[in-house]
């Protein structure tokens, strides 16, 4: 594997190998040790065209724990003339002999375009409404550690599916591994023909959550209200926000996830988000570092077999 541009194109063997490797990094991280020789002398550039504290920090930590020289480049798309940014940046990065390039961009397909032009291995850290593969991998790792498996589960993804790269990567990964994936949201936030991707669509939380092992809530951006996709935050919360009452429709041992950052009281209630017995949200963050270490490790080693 030369780049990690999305879950699309991966296979279960490669994913399982990556999760197993991440499992080792969880133990290493918890032991307080680092492995500073693996990427020593290699340069990792975090190229973020969109603000993100969480993902950027996670990649930065992953790179540093493996001994890479990590540089953060934030490029505000508005400040650069459209069109020049991406390819000019690619040329600059080539000149800097960057080895690993972590890219976040507000346009679907931007990391794929960069991957055609740079010598570095490109890792998609979220592109538009397309994919966010490391988020899906860290979610899968989190689920596997708690449920003991990552197949045969019923997983409900709730909220703004239409604009969510997290939802796309997750549903691709989770269906590929043999889980039943449901998406739940108002019809205006469900993308066209998503059923063709192997998921079942629900608009009602009670129906959609029935029998679910895992419930994922997604961030609802304020812009969705202003663009008229949902009338108001309070209406969204009333019908699609994850509250304790709605969570009760899922299995008694159902666990709750959220990719962050949360809008408390919009897509998720604090009582659910902070419930230590049900919420995996903090652990997702921990798994994120381990998964990203596994991804950097894998890409630095070269092609995956299988």
């Amino acid at each position: 594997m030369r780049h990690l541009l999305g879950i699309e194109g991966l296979n279960p063997v490669a994913v399982t190998a990556m999760l197993d490797l991440a499992e080792n990094y969880v133990l290493l991280n918890r032991s307080g040790k680092t492995q500073r020789d693996l990427l020593r002398g290699r340069t990792l550039i975090n190229l973020f065209f969109e603000d993100s504290t969480r993902t950027r920090t996670s990649f930065e930590l992953a790179g540093k724990r493996l001994g890479a020289d990590v540089i953060n480049m934030s490029v505000a798309t508005s400040s650069v003339a459209k069109g020049e940014t991406l390819l000019d940046t690619a040329a600059t990065l080539n000149a800097m002999n960057c080895d690993l390039l972590v890219v976040r961009h507000n346009q679907s397909g931007a990391p794929a375009l960069l991957a055609q032009k740079v010598q570095a291995a490109v890792i998609n850290a979220g592109d538009g409404m397309h994919e966010h593969p490391t988020q899906a991998l860290l979610d899968a790792l989190t689920i596997r550690r708690h449920k003991g498996r990552i197949d045969g589960l019923t997983i409900a993804i709730c909220g703004d599916i239409a604009h969510s790269r997290v939802a796309r990567s997750n549903l691709l990964l989770l269906t590929m591994l043999g889980n039943q994936v449901r998406v739940i949201g108002p019809p205006t936030l469900i993308p066209a023909e998503i059923g063709a991707l192997g998921v079942t669509v629900y608009h009602d939380m009670q129906e959609g959550l029935a029998g679910a092992d895992i419930v994922m809530a997604l961030r609802l951006q304020k812009e969705r209200m202003s663009k008229g996709l949902v009338p108001s935050a309070r209406e969204f919360f009333a019908f699609h926000g994850l509250s304790a009452e709605k969570l009760a429709f899922a299995k008694p041992d159902a666990l709750v996830m959220h990719p962050g950052p949360m809008n408390r009281g919009v897509e998720i209630d604090s009582a659910v988000a902070d419930d230590p017995l049900r919420s995996l949200i903090k652990e997702q963050v921990e798994m994120g570092v381990a998964v990203r270490m596994a991804v950097l490790d894998t890409l630095a080693r070269g092609p995956i077999i299988g």
């Binding site: 069109g83 794929a112 375009l113 538009g128 066209a192 023909e193 998503i194």
Partner: protein, 422 residues
């Protein structure tokens, strides 16, 4: 200019394809038939197996000039056209500046004359500056040579404005050419809404955005008595609406372009911006419906829909990349692929590329006729070639057909009796 006698060719004559000969004298078609004898001093061209057709009439193309000369100049477009067997192009007005003044209409026509190889027929803007606000001066523009009125790749979105445009144009016997895509429904979109756009995370445009505007404008044509033409029809639903309107005797016509019957939405996989079009490529069911509408006569013409783009316009994230493909050099061969596939007859395809568009434009071209200017295209329907971006004639290289092996190649093109290609 030497007189030319074509022998042992198949003539694409008005009454069908016939083996025969054709004589050019003084830049005009002097005669054609099964056997013409051999006048003295003529150049003889024998091309067994080749077809001699009227020069192709491309009823809709954007050229880079004026305003986007970095993409293409009229001289370079003329080279591509000649290589594609095209001798007449109707040029869209959404250039920089937009063609909304009689002087600009005359400029485009005279720039065509300067090439000596292609007649340029200017469309004029339907609204000033193609801005969709005020009507342009249809009477003056038509007198200057404008063939019809359109805002090019921009839809006339306002129903009130479209009504007035159709109504006012009808007073001059002029047609309005519409980009049939509801601007509100398509705003921000870059691919046809559906499973593919969902998977790629691209903002979608529902296919219904086309049918909705077509349905509205058919009704407005009926209301006003005006003539509406729908450009690059891409959906089966729009074809059905147009078929009905024609059956009812309304003044409605339409065209399509090769990408819409040759490609489907899968071409945009891997974020291939060279397959980004406006309207976007559709599901395969729509592609098949377009082919059916070409076969049954619902669609009046195949246009190149040529849109020159520079690499910098295309090497961008998908949603930011400019839509459109270079289409002049591949117009004939991609259309002939449907003949080889058994979907259309050769006579149908040639009519859609010559007589059909000429009839729409109201020009004396596109038909072999004694005494007409000798605008001719000689092609071998079985000669194969490879489409290679970077090696196409002309400056614009943004073909969606890069890497395709096509069967059917232009051997020579003549403009008013003068050989301009081959």
């Amino acid at each position: 200019m030497a007189d030319v006698l074509f022998r042992k060719v198949t003539l694409a004559a008005p009454d069908g394809l016939v083996a025969g000969e054709l004589l050019i004298q003084d830049g005009k078609i002097a005669d054609f038939g099964t056997s013409l004898g051999t006048p003295e001093g003529v150049e003889i061209i024998e091309a067994e197996g080749a077809i001699l057709a009227p020069g192709l009439v491309d009823m809709r193309a954007s050229l880079g000039e004026p305003g986007y000369e970095y993409r293409e100049t009229i001289a370079s477009a003329a080279q591509a056209a000649a290589a594609g067997g095209i001798t007449t192009i109707a040029v869209l007005p959404d250039s920089k500046p937009a063609i909304d003044d009689p002087a600009l209409v005359r400029l485009i026509a005279s720039r065509g004359e300067e090439t000596g190889s292609v007649t340029l027929l200017p469309y004029a803007a339907a609204t000033r500056g193609c801005q969709g606000q005020e009507l342009a001066e249809y009477g003056l523009l038509k007198a200057a040579g404008a063939v019809a009125f359109t805002d090019g790749a921009k839809a006339i979105g306002s129903a009130r404005l479209m009504r007035r445009a159709l109504s006012y144009a009808s007073g001059f016997g002029a047609k309005i050419l519409q980009h049939p895509e509801d601007p509100e429904l398509s705003e921000g979109g870059s691919a046809t809404e559906g499973a593919r756009a969902t998977l790629m995370g691209l903002p979608g445009i529902p296919a219904a955005a086309e049918a909705i505007l077509v349905a509205r404008d058919i009704r407005l044509a009926e209301l006003t008595g005006g003539a509406v033409h729908f450009a690059h029809i891409s959906t089966g639903e729009a074809c059905a609406l147009i078929r009905q309107a024609k059956d009812r005797g309304l003044n409605v016509t339409c065209d399509t372009a090769p990408p819409y019957f040759d490609l489907n939405e899968t071409a945009i996989g891997d974020f291939r911006t060279y397959a980004k079009f406006s309207p976007p490529l559709r599901a395969d069911a729509d592609r098949l419906a377009i082919l059916a509408a070409l076969a049954d006569g619902t669609i009046d013409a195949i246009a190149s829909d040529h849109q020159p783009r520079d690499a910098d316009d295309k090497r961008l994230p998908f949603a930011e990349a400019a839509p459109g493909g270079a289409g002049l050099a591949t117009l004939l061969a991609v259309s002939l692929a449907q003949v080889h596939a058994g979907q259309l007859t050769l006579a149908q395809v040639l009519a859609l590329l010559t007589a059909g568009p000429a009839r729409f434009l109201g020009i004396d071209a596109g038909v072999l006729r004694k005494g007409a200017a000798a605008d001719l295209c000689l092609f071998d329907p079985h000669l194969s070639w490879l489409v290679e971006a970077g090696k196409l004639p002309g400056k614009a290289q943004n073909t969606p057909f890069d890497g395709r092996a096509l069967e059917g190649k232009v051997i020579g093109t003549w403009k008013a009796g003068r050989r301009v290609f081959g």
